[in-house]
Amino acid sequence: MLSPARAPSTAPQAEAAFDVADTQALVVSNTAVNSDYFHMVLEADGLAAQARAGQFFNIACPATGNDLPYLRRPMSVYRAAPAKGQVEFLYKVTGAGTRGLATVRAGDSVAILGPLGNGFTLDPNWKNIVVLGRGVGLATLAPLAELAAEQGVGVTAILSARSRALVMSVERFAKSGATVEVVTDEDGSSEPAAVEKLLERLIAQGKADAFFTCGSNRLMLLMKRVGEKHGIPGEVAMEQQMACGLGMCFCCVRSFATPDGDTEQRRVCLEGPVFALREALSW
């Protein structure tokens, strides 16, 4: 029997690394975090557990009585623990795929293709970064905060949500040592103007060597503008409808500004999902 990465019979030369695998991962747990979100912990040896912050997997979601999802669904890695051989996801139940995913139970298995895409970059010279996220964006940014902490980089995490009750992962960010600022629609603190003030304050305090954002077009545009004004580099993790996740289908393109002032289309799955804030355009 042949295995995907078997030695090809006629292979003459050193094979390119097989750095993406379709792993049948064992479900350790899959539990509701609140009315909308689920948290899934998978046991997945090898490549999968090596995923870096900002990378994602393309997940096969099971069919249920009413839903027959066909394509896979892209999900950021919420936590990868190579030592434990585990990888975790935090996902919002929105449609057929995530409804199906929400039905899996401990002991089931789920096929996850990955790790895919490029993760966030952390410059070793940075002392403090600001991450700004909303909704599922927090799932993507959480492991970045931890990575930064591990590398001795200070993190201010601005978590935006409709209401305090809906802010997720506050504890997770806090535990990583990040300073957490919760902003909500409820009290108006999530308004761009308010967030801008917050960013300006952090910059003034020397807390913003780099910006990272995910989960909101409005907040991305804000961070991009503020970053450009102060010459602060930044990255954004983007989403787009996908099919393959591997750069094959060209479904997932978005427009980006090139350094020479043009726009060009890039695949979110392959050239991203993390892009330089400077090149990102409104979506």
Binding site: P8, L71, A111, Q241, A243, C249, F250, V253, Q265
Partner: protein, 312 residues
């Protein structure tokens, strides 16, 4: 040992499994080695630079998907310089898919690709013919004849012609392509389709219409493969909804000499490998020495059956 080889004209493929154009790229080499494939087929390239269609370019519909990628292309030079070298390290022959908006430009691009490394040309004639009424060449026998004639004159490479399923009489188009010297046919491409979001009232694709692919179209592509294989004597390569060993066997039985796997690779990147292994296991179980013995082996005579055996 099952003999998995099949012959497409003067080419002998190690096995009958290859990717469908546009559903495959070097990226898949991060998952498995292309040495296991019967051939590799590139995304369609064009001479002109093209950006492709607006997003969203994909939507899921039932057990299939619609795409309106279009044919974004960075041109022939980029292909030869940047893409072709990526495939050099693999033993599987490289089939280069090409397209063009006119008969003449079809000839041009094929001439440019007559270089070492190109094992065969796959002419995607499901693209609009801008010299006539914008209908795809493969919609009609006449425009198919014209373009295949030009292609045949332009290259000595094995010439595969990929047909569209959106035509009324695919067998007639297949014959036209054979008559002008095609070495093989690929049957077929995506089926024109549509989906509308009932919440927003907007088409689900930025391009409004798109191509339907995946398991949902299999019975249609299979029927066309059967019709074409009956009509022509050159090899037919089946394509449309193939996702499992049984699907591949179904196409071989219907008369296909090889199969292309498209959308299934998006859903399960190892599908092609699984089919190669599965064909071997299938033949072994059935006591079939050569996979080529499956070609056209459908038992379609003496069909007046009225049997349901009792369940024991």
């Amino acid at each position: 040992m099952v003999d998995l080889r099949v012959k497409i004209g003067r080419m002998t493929l190690a096995n009958p499994v290859m990717p469908a154009s546009g559903t495959f790229s070097e990226g898949l080499a991060r998952v498995f080695s292309f040495d296991h494939l019967g051939a590799v087929v590139t995304k369609t390239i064009t001479a002109e630079l093209r950006g492709g269609n607006p997003t969203p370019r994909v939507c899921e519909v039932g057990q299939g998907m619609l795409n309106s990628i279009g044919i974004p292309s960075k041109g022939v030079a980029n292909f030869i310089d940047k893409i072709m070298p990526e495939y050099e390290r693999f033993s599987a022959p490289l089939v280069v898919s090409v397209s063009a908006p006119t008969v003449e430009l079809f000839g041009d691009i094929v001439r440019q690709l007559d270089i070492p490394g190109t094992a065969a040309i796959e002419a995607n004639i499901s693209c609009p013919n801008i010299e006539e009424d914008g209908k795809a060449f493969a919609m009609r026998s006449r425009s198919t004849s014209a373009v295949v004639k030009e292609l045949r004159a332009a290259t000595k490479l094995p010439l595969w012609v990929k047909l569209t399923p959106n035509t009324a009489d695919v067998a007639a188009v297949a014959l036209a392509a054979q008559d002008q010297g095609a070495d093989a046919l690929v049957v077929a491409n995506t089926i024109l389709a549509m989906s509308i979001d009932t919440e927003t009232f907007k088409p689900r694709l930025g391009n409004i219409l798109g191509g339907y692919s995946g398991p949902a179209i299999k019975p249609i592509a299979l029927r066309m493969t059967y019709q074409c294989a009956k009509a022509v004597s050159i090899p037919v390569i089946g394509c449309g909804g193939i996702a499992s060993t049984e699907d591949a066997v179904e196409f071989l039985l219907a008369g296909a000499t090889a199969v292309q796997v498209g959308t299934a690779t998006f859903v399960k990147p190892n599908t092609m490998l699984e089919i190669v292994d599965g064909l071997e296991a299938f033949c072994q179980r059935k006591g079939i020495a050569k996979v080529a013995d499956l070609i056209g082996a459908v038992r379609d005579t003496d069909m007046n059956v009225d049997k349901l055996e009792a369940l024991p």
